[in-house]
Every structure is written in C-alpha cells, then in structure tokens.
C-alpha cells in the first residue's frame, strides 16, 4: 500500500540523515521525501511517500516516532487530505508535435516555462494521478528529462498539524500512533 506520511521534526543538523538512515537501515521503501521549513522556523516538515504492508507501515510509523528529533508523525491514510507534486518535464517539441504538446499542457493546466526550437520545459503541478496521467500522454511524444519534487500533503478543512500537539511516543497502547 502507498502511504503519504507527514513528519514534523526539529529543524536541526543531521535530522534528515536520521530519517533517511532509518529507512535504509531497516529496509523500508522511500518513493519520495520532501523537506522544508514550517511556520515555526525551528520545525521542519517532511513529507514521505512510502509503500509497504500494514505491518511494515506500523513499524515505519513507530520507528519514526522513536527518533528523538521527531515531534509528530501523521499518516494521511484514511484522512481527508490534499497532496501535490510539481514536475518539470523536458518534452520533445518537433514541428509535427508542438501543437499537440501545447494542447495537452493546456488540458492539464501546466505551463511552459522554457522554449527552445526542439523542446519545451513544462511545469505540471498536481496530485499523483494527474501527474501520472500527463506523463503517460506525453511519453509517446518523447520525454528528454524529468525532475520531480516529490509530494507534499495537507489535511483538508480546519485541522492543522501542530508541533505542540506533543504526543507521548507510542501513545498508550501502541496502536494510536498508527491512526492520528
């Protein structure tokens, strides 16, 4: 199962290495990892996209929680959330296909951010399905290069992920870390 996990961490030296090392050391999957400062500059948020069975996910969440610099772990699974990723794609734009590429970009509300005689650099922002759909459509026309930011995610509505919502690690029965 694919999960998007948000991790609030202390914005400190070496924290990214701790999180990344946890995944590699324990053989967990990372599809993407995206880090940046939050409203509070001393706290960073990481959005991690990972896959694994329920029991692996349970371990991932618990192990993340166990890191001393990790303040809060949220699994978006079963939550109402929005997620976005930005992708830069350098696509072939031959005379024959230029028009078609532009049409697709328009349909997907992308933007051409650089133009050259034989290619466009296109910026596409969207959730996973949108990005996948766009790439599937332009792939036959020839993608020269692709860079992705990885997903970021946020709860819909009023709910916010607050770092001062301290949680006692593992909660009280070891299960409530899983769904919070």
């Amino acid at each position: 199962m694919r999960h998007i996990i948000s991790v609030l961490v202390e914005n400190e030296f070496g924290v990214l290495a701790r999180v990344a090392g946890l995944f590699s050391g324990r053989g967990f999957n990372i599809e993407s990892l995206c880090v940046g400062e939050t409203l509070e500059p001393e706290i960073s948020s990481m959005t991690i996209v990972t896959t694994g069975s329920d029991s692996i996910l349970e371990q991932i969440l618990k192990q993340l929680n166990k890191l001393v610099n990790v303040i809060k772990v949220t699994d978006f699974q079963d939550a109402d959330y929005v997620s976005r990723e930005m992708v830069l794609v350098k696509v072939n734009a031959e005379e024959r296909t230029r028009e078609e590429v532009l049409r697709m970009i328009e349909i997907f509300r992308g933007r051409v951010v650089d133009v050259s005689p034989r290619s466009y650099v296109v910026e596409i922002t969207g959730n996973e399905e949108k990005v996948r759909a766009f790439l599937a459509l332009v792939r036959p026309l020839g993608i020269k290069e692709l860079v992705r930011t990885g997903s970021v995610a946020m709860m819909r509505g009023e709910k916010v992920m607050r770092a001062n919502d301290k949680q006692s690690k593992g909660g009280s029965n070891g299960e409530d870390v899983l769904r919070k």
Partner: protein, 494 residues
C-alpha cells in the same frame, strides 16, 4: 575518547549497549570545528557512524550548548527504553570557556516515553488471562531495567503462572523458584520451550521476541494469544503480531495488572486454580522429564565448574560472561537469584564484552565478588584489560573455560556441517597463567574436577585480579539446542 580511531574503537561497545538497552553516555573528541569535513588528522564522522547504533547523538558546535546537551544526553540514555548516547566535542569547543549553568529540567519536544500502561488494555489483558487455561509468563531484560522483579514475582505467585526468562531477563525471577522454567529459546530448557509451544496465553513483559528466543516465528506460541508489555512501541508486533499490546513500564504495568486481579478476587479464586491445574501438572512433568543435565565422567566439565562457582558464591556474585558456550552454560547452570547479577551481551553477542564489563562492575561495587566466565577465544579479544585491573587494583576474577577451541562454532560445525572444523580449533592458545603473571595479576590452573573447589576458593579470596585457566573437556556441547530456523519444539536434547 580520542577523535578518529579512539572514537571508532567504541562502536562495537556502543552497538552492544544499543542492542541490550544499556544506558551509557560516550564523550568523543572531534577535530577543530573549522576542520570538520576536511579529512583532518584523526577525523572520523563518529556522529554519522554511530547514528544507527545510538539512541541519540550530538555534535556540540558551541560551548554554550554543552550543559544542556549533557543534561539531555543523560536523561535520554536513562529514560524510556535506555540506550547509548554519544556527544562529539570538537577540540576548540572543549577548550572554550563559558559560564556554567546546568539546566534543571530537560525539554525535548519529540521525546516523551510512555510509562503508564493504558488502563483499558490492562483490563483486557487480565480478562484474557482469566479466560486462559495454559498461561505462561515470558519475561526479558525489561524486568531488570525497570526494577520490576518484585512485581513480577508477586504477579506470578498470585496467579501461579510459570515463568520463563530470556537471556537478558535472567535474575528477573529467582532461578531456584518452583515456578521457574529456566531460559527459553535456542538453548532454552525443554520445559520452557514446551510451555511456550503449548501455551494458550503468553504474557510477554520487557522481552522483544528476538529470533534466538523465538526460534521459527511462525510456530512460536502458535496456539496462544499474546499479551505484550513493553516500553518501546517499536518492539511490539515487530517480529510477531500480538493480540494485546501494552506500551508502558514493566513495573508500572505489572503492579497495575495485579491490582486489577485483586479487584476481581472472584474470578481468580478456586475456579482459576482449578482451570490451570492440568496445565501446571503438565509443566511439572516437562520439568522432571528433561531437566538440564550433563554427564560427569571423570573429565572436567564446564557445567560443573559453573555449578561450583554458583555454590561457592551463594549465587550472589556479579557474573559477566563472554560469548559462546561459556555464556550459554552460565545462563543454564548459574541459577541467578536476583536481578543485576548477570552482565552478558545478548543482542549483539559481542565476544570480548565480559571482561571489561566485569572491570566496570568491580569499580562500581568494590566490595562484591565479580567473576567473568570466559572462553579461551573471547577472553583474547580484550585480555589487555588485565593491565587496567592491575593498575587500579580491581580484584576481578576471570574463569576461562578453556576448551582449546571456539567452542560454539565448533559445536555448530559438529552438528550442522559434518564435523568440518574450519578455523574453530585454536592451535595457538597462550599460557594464560603466565600471561596473567606477566601483567602482574594472579594466574591459576585447573586440570581436574577434584581441584575445582580448592582453586576457586583461593581465587575468590585472594583480593587480587585473578585469572583461572580451567582445562575443560573440549567435546562438551550446549544442550538442548534448537537448530537455527527450527521451531522451539524441535530441540536436540543431547
């Protein structure tokens, strides 16, 4: 310790502490702040190297942070599930001056160990126990760490539940108690492994379902519902899915569980005794059918030496072990009566652990008898520490069960690799008595069974660092043994 090589030399010790939840704070030197990252002389990224084997670590970049970091380090090392913390201090930072203010409190936003078990889960657990007919307690090092031996005993005795310990849990329940089954696992007793295999309810407390304890996981307690009490949520449902997880401190949770039992005296009265009577009879049969044993045949048996050490120390010495057969025989034949009497590298299995650990214990407890039960292989990993013992006048005792080989490796080759004894026979074993004497320690030798008591008594009474070289029968194996990957019920008994 020294930056670079000094720091990297501690990695095995740190990893050993990490696996066995031992709280230590390690201070490492680092090159000058401006040189970090430049491949300077004696530079090693020890924070990076130890990241996966410390509970937490720090690089102090400014002397004004030092007091806070030290306070935090000791707090993190000792609280929750204890573990090692490393503090790396660059040369310029250690030389810098600052006003010393030691913080009263620590505040670490992301660190909040859970001590109290969830009341609802505790009730559920007691209810499950009440409905069981074949309960067993499987307890580990968490009992010792949390200081829960008294609570465990009260709980086990109140409900008459048999108890098995992991290696790290030995001493958490008295080794001579009628309800004690001995250690479980690869070299566990027949009774312990049969009880786990046939139980309908396993109450695991402060144990982490290590593969040496569980054997083939699919068959571990496959007829049982499992209650798991542990302070570390990641230990729960990691290797084996459990039915009732309780995150909390063992002492707290056991005390609370007993209260819940007492509130429900009815359910745990005569009906309870009746319900588990058949089971207790069965467990007793297993205990008498195949107790731990060895054959005395005139040769010097390692198990005999350990039994005599137990007898002569009244089971009250602080015992360290090395790794291998010496460790397993100690676990089997030195009946630990109290917690904190055994120091052994369980999780990492680090040869060379025992002697330095014994020296440390002797520093902490100058008036106690401290004995390292060693193998001739393992002792050579840190034998230079004889110098430390002599220099500081620490009267530690080392008893080498000298079988002329890396016995545990030899045993596996005998049983599972058609007796191809590759690299396991030590063709050059030093004269340990002379070696001890060369350091200024005392050395004794034991060749025959008949000398054991006399030499051990002399060694334990001489007040000096002493090494006893006991030439034991090299053919002796550790039994029972569950072959790697087999189920606990598939024991080879002899």
């Amino acid at each position: 310790m020294t930056s670079g090589p000094g720091a990297t030399n501690t990695v095995t010790g740190i990893a050993t502490a990490y696996m066995d939840s031992v709280p230590i704070v390690v201070f490492s030197g680092q090159v000058n702040t401006v040189l970090i990252g430049n491949d300077a002389f004696q530079e090693a990224d020890i924070v990076g190297i130890t990241r996966p084997c410390t509970k937490h670590n720090y690089l102090v970049r400014d002397v004004t942070e030092m007091a806070r970091i030290i306070k935090e380090a000791f707090y993190i090392a000792r609280s929750g599930r204890p573990g090692p913390v490393l503090i790396d201090i660059p040369k310029d930072v250690s030389a810098a001056l600052t006003e010393f203010t030691y913080p009263e409190k620590v505040r670490i936003r992301g660190y909040q160990p859970t001590y109290a078990g969830h009341p609802g889960q505790i009730k559920k657990a007691v209810k499950l126990i009440n409905s069981s007919k074949r309960p067993v307690l499987y307890t580990g090092g968490g009992i010792i760490t949390s200081g829960a031996a008294k609570e465990l005993r009260a709980f086990a005795e109140r409900l008459s539940i048999p108890v098995t310990n992991t290696l790290m849990g030995l001493g958490g329940f008295p080794g001579n108690h009628p309800q004690f089954l001995g250690m479980l696992g690869m070299h566990g007793t027949y009774a312990a492994n049969m009880a786990i295999t046939n139980a309908d309810t396993i109450i695991a407390v402060g144990a982490r379902f290590d593969d040496r304890a569980t054997g083939k996981v699919e068959e571990f307690g496959s007829r049982a519902k499992i209650i798991h009490v542990d302070i570390d949520p990641t230990s729960i449902s990691k290797n084996i899915r459990v039915d009732i997880p309780i995150v909390g401190d063992a002492k707290n949770v056991l005390r609370r569980m007993l209260q819940v039992v007492e509130e429900d005296k009815e359910s745990f009265g005569g009906a309870w005794d009746h319900a588990i009577a058949d089971w207790l009879r069965q467990v007793e049969r297993w205990k008498t059918e195949f107790p731990l044993s060895y054959t005395r045949n005139g040769t010097l048996k390692p198990q005999y030496v350990i039994e005599r050490i137990h007898e002569l120390t009244g089971g009250k010495a602080i015992i360290a072990t090395e790794v291998g057969q010496n460790q397993m025989w100690t676990a089997q034949f030195y009946k630990f009566l109290e917690p904190r009497r055994l120091m052994t590298s369980g999780g990492l299995g680090t040869m060379g652990y025992g002697f330095p650990a014994a020296i440390g214990a002797q520093v902490a407890y100058p008036d106690m008898l401290v004995v390292d039960i060693a193998g001739d292989g393992s002792i050579q990993m840190n034998i230079q520490e004889l110098a430390t013992a002599v220099q500081y006048g620490l009267p530690v005792k080392v008893v080498i069960l000298n079988n002329g080989c890396l016995g545990m490796v030899r045993q596996w080759q005998e049983l599972f690799y058609e007796k191809r004894y590759a690299i396991s026979v030590l063709e050059c074993v030093p004269n340990f008595v002379k070696l001890a004497e060369a350091y200024g320690a005392v050395g004794y030798e034991i060749e025959h069974e008949s000398e054991v008591d006399r030499v051990l008594k002399k060694a334990f009474a001489n007040g000096r660092p002493t090494l006893v070289d006991a030439h034991v029968n090299p053919e002796e194996g550790v039994y029972p043994i569950v072959p790697a990957g087999a189920a606990l019920s598939d024991m080879l008994l002899v």
